[in-house]
């Protein structure tokens, strides 16, 4: 593959594709990343400091109290030259600045929707729409939740017709994998080059 880079003669540097898993609190982001990841579900943390981000010099920050926000993180190896990294987004509005970093260079996103709290995923949808980042919506089917038709959910979310909307169970690897496939096919379609069915 022409994407492969080499570090001198020594090692092949794989291509890493970044996919974001977004949605409201409790929508199943952590569950989905864990179900799909081949490594134990990892968390990476980012540090919030009183001075905020965008400040280069925080002299004295070591004595200021800071707090961390955890991001779920998982890996799927496609082949030795190609890896998919999943990043669960922090759920709160005040962490938007972390989203910008996560979204930078991302292939696309999965927005998880919980039909009991549909409005919780509006901010995620807005975020990706405004930045032109391709996304699909996965309706996570919680036990006991009333079943809505996909058409009803699509209308409630005011989704563009070309945005894929699929049912899923975030606990189930096969189900989660189908959501990711839907996303990659959507990315390809947006570029006018459909991926033929294998």
């Amino acid at each position: 593959m022409d994407s492969v880079r080499y570090d001198g003669e020594r090692a092949r540097i794989p291509l890493a594709l970044k996919i974001l898993i977004a949605g409201g609190f409790g929508a199943g982001k952590t569950t989905l990343v864990s179900a799909l990841s081949e490594v134990r579900p990892l968390q990476t943390e980012e540090v919030l400091t009183g001075a905020g981000v965008g400040t280069d010099d925080l002299s004295g920050v070591e004595t200021k109290s800071t707090t961390t926000v955890a991001m779920d993180f998982g890996r799927i190896t496609i082949n030795e030259d190609l890896q998919v990294y999943l990043f669960g987004t922090p759920g709160q509005d005040r962490f938007w600045f972390l989203w910008d970093e996560l979204a930078f260079g991302a292939l696309g996103a999965v927005v998880l929707a919980d039909t009991r709290r549909l409005a919780d995923c509006f901010p995620s949808i807005d975020y990706f729409e405004q930045r032109g980042i391709p996304f699909v919506v996965g309706v996570n089917c919680f036990d006991g939740a009333r079943r809505f038709s996909l058409e009803t959910v699509r209308q409630a979310l005011d989704l563009d017709p070309e945005v894929p909307l699929v049912l899923c169970d975030a606990r189930d690897r096969q189900s989660g994998k189908l959501v990711l496939i839907e996303l990659v096919e959507h990315v390809a379609r947006q570029r006018g080059e459909p991926v033929p069915a294998a």
Binding site: I13, L42, E45, V47, F73, L82, Y85, F87
Partner: protein, 129 residues
């Protein structure tokens, strides 16, 4: 949608925030590495001839990073493995890069737009899961 920068820090300290910590003690208060931000999926690879004995000023965490980077490892994975915040790992990596002990391979600018062959490979790889 709220896009303004986060408010005063006490607003962060609720159930969603992690424990209050002082993670930048390790970096002597530096929050930016000297050489700019490394992407979360930038791959880090130790230089084969790297001689850590020549750098007694480095911390144990620097040394762990070099060990882990014996194969190409992305920044986010290093942070998870070391249980350190990404921002801290970036500063430490900057120190290592400045000493020529590691190489950092930023993702290609077009990573978000891989060619169709790559997308096909991803789809068939996912189908095989």
């Amino acid at each position: 949608m709220r896009t303004e920068s986060p408010g005063p820090q006490h607003e962060w300290l609720d159930g969603d925030a992690g424990p209050v910590v002082r993670p930048y003690t390790l970096t002597g208060g530096r929050v930016r590495s000297a050489v700019g931000g490394f992407d979360l999926v930038a791959f880090v690879l130790a230089e084969p001839g790297a001689d850590l004995a020549a750098h007694p000023e480095l911390q144990p965490e620097h040394r762990r990073l070099v060990e882990l980077a014996g194969r190409p490892v992305p920044v986010a994975e290093l942070a998870a493995d070391l249980d350190l915040a990404v921002g801290v790992v970036r500063v430490l990596l900057g120190d290592l890069l400045a000493r020529g002990v590691v190489a950092v391979h930023q993702p290609p600018r077009t990573a978000y737009l891989p060619d169709n062959d790559i997308l096909k490979a991803v789809v068939s790889g996912l189908r095989a899961l």
